[in-house]
């Protein structure tokens, strides 16, 4: 029996049993009160159609640039019980962090703040780039209050400094747990996981907004505002690698699901999936209701249960805890094109030193690594060329950057500059506008290969990458890719790109390669050097992992 259904039913029955004033009686009461209070000013309240679209475009994090793995030279804070390593190992029961600290991935800080009831001090940041852990010492200044509780929890923003200053309201908080010092009952050591929020950051901010004292069911919240700004020296957090997996789709319960990114860090292994939900999925439900979210979660957990990760003959099942998988339903993201994503977590594996790694999904085996070689996302014989094709759409000049030809299909990548009208918007709002614009252009794009017309197989992975700060190239540059898969496009006789109402002959038997700038893509070795060790195969912006950790953090 579903709790929410029955609870609603019982509450509705309860309401029916109550004698509330009818609307006319209530109006009389309100008018009488207004007259008594001599209130005459009232403004119009309009009952416009509710637009509950909540676009929560995931923050695009640029591909993890290869940070030096050299350990920082930061000294280790000398706790009386044996330093930070012991603190993580003994108090927080975090052997991974303890090990990373022993390897030197820790930066000591001494940044103090107080709100009167509590004195807090940020003492260290340690871990890997996806799992930075902040350590605070927080003292309860009232010994009597401290004696009433045995555990402390905190809620805190953890963000890159610029994100914090400009876009704090777009993010959620993380929760951390503290344990009482064995010798000082007023002092708590608190460990706070910071998610992916400070990947690639040089300076971060932690802003503790709640301190919670807990003793069993007795929970007392204190609203505080304690801000800590701290440096993140290069290499002070251990690097984490990821593999971008292109062009891998599975179908499950009428959902087209695309495998996106595979990330292996020191704590766990994560696979990121993108869903294309058919309209029939929403039958009988309000697409914006929690009902869809619950259904999607249930389906996604079932989907996750079909998976096996195999590393050199050893099978791993997805983590089974309640937070081991999640599906984030994003109804506002252009329903019909893409509207959900989810992650599946496995235990940490030694991917670097493994020989053969496969992921089996509902019976379909996906090879991730074979005989020590990483999965080659691009079929044998694939080739890229640059072109000088452009089109103007919605006051924006889109330029075809490259077209890839392979035995699996083709990709057409565009580079362009964000239009002026979005540049003054916040990152999130600009991203939304750019995504919507791109999806409109994408709907005009088809390819005709040897006389057969193909429509795009792109999903949300074809969303726009946007660089408002010029971190990865020219400022305001955007790039996006239209993908067409499921047919041999390695050596077409004719290749026509239909774009924004135009038909552009890219290659044909008579003319050869048209518009081609004769650019040969760098070979794998050169490219590897360019990427400074990033374990990927192409600079494809869509494959950048998305940051939803803050939204989904569960306590």
């Amino acid at each position: 029996m579903k709790f929410d259904t029955e609870y609603k039913k019982q509450i509705n029955n309860f309401c029916e049993s109550i004698n509330m004033p009818d609307p006319d009686e209530m109006l009389k009461l309100a008018k009488a009160r207004a007259a008594a209070d001599n209130i005459t000013e009232r403004t119009e309240i309009t009952m416009t159609k509710n637009n509950r679209k909540k676009i929560n475009r995931f923050t695009v994090i640029a591909a993890i640039t290869a940070a030096s793995l050299a350990a920082s030279a930061a000294s280790v804070y000398a706790y009386s019980n044996g330093g930070f390593s012991a603190l993580f190992g003994n108090i927080f029961h975090d052997e991974v962090a303890s090990s990373l600290v022993e390897q030197g991935y820790i930066t000591e800080h001494d940044i103090a703040n107080t709100d009167g009831i509590f004195d807090a001090r940020l003492t260290a940041v340690a871990g890997d780039v996806y799992n930075p852990t902040l350590v605070f010492d927080i003292r309860v200044n009232d010994p009597e209050l401290a004696a009433e509780y045995d555990t402390m929890e905190i809620d805190s923003f953890v963000l890159d400094e610029e994100d914090y200053d400009k876009y704090k309201s777009h993010y959620g908080t993380f929760s951390g747990t503290g344990y009482r010092d064995e010798e000082d009952p007023t002092l708590y050591h608190v460990s706070l996981w910071g998610g992916w929020s400070i990947v690639n950051s040089k300076r971060g901010v932690a802003d503790i907004v709640t301190i919670r004292l807990v003793n069993g069911d007795d929970v007392q919240d204190y609203d505080v505002d304690m801000e800590f700004r701290f440096d993140i020296p290069e290499g002070s957090l251990k690097n984490v690698d990821c593999v971008f997996i292109d062009n891998t789709f599975v179908t499950y319960k009428d959902m087209d699901i695309q495998l996106g990114t595979f990330i292996y860090d020191n704590y766990e292994t994560m696979f990121d999936f993108f869903f294309m939900l058919p309209d029939s999925y929403f039958e009988g439900m309000d697409p914006y209701s929690n009902e869809v979210y619950f259904k999607l979660n249930d389906d996604f957990r079932e989907f996750a249960d079909t998976m096996v990760l195999t590393v050199d003959g050893v099978d791993y099942s997805p983590k089974t805890g309640k937070d081991s998988t999640n599906a984030c339903y994003d109804p506002a993201y252009l329903p019909g094109t893409f509207n959900a994503h989810g992650d599946v977590y496995f235990p940490a594996i030694d991917y670097e030193n493994s020989q053969n790694v496969t992921l089996t999904i509902d019976g379909t085996v996906i090879e991730l690594k074979t005989d020590g070689r990483n999965r080659d996302n691009n079929a044998e014989g694939s080739r890229w060329y640059e072109y000088d094709i452009s089109t103007t759409f919605d006051d924006t000049d889109f330029k075809v950057s490259t077209i890839m030809f392979s035995t699996d299909g083709t990709e057409v990548t565009f580079k362009y500059y964000a239009p002026e009208k979005v540049r003054s918007k916040s990152y999130e709002m600009a991203q939304r506008a750019l995504d919507a614009q791109w999806q409109q252009l994408l709907s005009t794009i088809t390819v005709e290969v040897d006389g057969v017309l193909y429509e795009t197989t792109s999903t949300a992975m074809s969303g726009v990458a946007y660089d408002p700060n010029g971190d990865y190239g020219p400022q305001w540059e955007c790039w996006a890719t239209a993908k067409f898969y499921g047919f041999d496009c390695s050596d077409p006789h004719t290749f026509i790109l239909n774009l924004n109402g135009e038909s552009i002959i890219v290659e044909d038997e008579e003319h050869g390669y048209l518009h081609n700038k004769k650019y040969d893509y760098p070979d794998e070795e050169e490219y590897s050097e360019e990427c400074e060790g990033v374990d990927t195969v192409e600079p494809d912006a869509e494959n950048i992992p998305e940051n939803d950790a803050a939204d989904d953090s569960e306590n």
Partner: protein, 158 residues
């Protein structure tokens, strides 16, 4: 606001307001007074409310604030023993959800009610209660855990 519009809003949201208030005060007398007070505030409100969703969020927030002020003024707490107003006619206590929810501490039962009856999102609940989202998530999780302990696990999916 026209009289017709006010009546339309009242008809649409009176159950919402009443049940939110009742979840706080747990007696009909106070719930009735505070619900009416909420709609009187709507009638005399001087700002524009743009949408259904905005109106609903506004009503819930005002109702909650009135309840908090009610307890402050009377120096009472919403975790006092449950009065007799809670219906519990059904013989099988485990299927009688309202009194079970009402037995939860206020900090758990209000998010549980808003989440399961009003279909409020965590962000909306956080906004209504003026709490961080993480706190709401924590309270929802703890509230669910408590409900699971009381309800027969094999019969309920929470």
């Amino acid at each position: 606001m026209t009289d017709e519009l006010f009546k339309e809003i009242y008809a649409k949201y009176r159950n919402t307001v009443y049940t939110v208030v009742f979840n706080y005060v747990r007696n009909h007398e106070d719930a009735s007074d505070l619900s009416q007070e909420t709609f009187i505030k709507l009638y005399t409100y001087g700002e524009e409310l743009q949408s259904d969703e905005h109106i609903k969020a506004w009503l819930i927030r005002v109702a909650i604030n009135l309840c908090k002020n009610h307890f402050r003024a009377r120096k009472r707490f919403s975790d006092e023993p449950i009065p007799d107003d809670i219906p519990a006619e059904q013989t099988d206590r485990h299927d009688d959800l309202l009194p079970i929810v009402m037995e939860l501490p206020e900090k758990y039962r209000i998010p549980i009610h808003l989440f399961y009856y009003e279909d409020r999102t965590i962000a909306q609940i956080a906004d209504a209660l003026d709490l961080p989202e993480a706190t709401v998530k924590t309270r929802l999780n703890r509230g669910r855990e408590k409900l699971r302990k009381i309800l027969r696990k094999e019969d309920w999916s929470i």
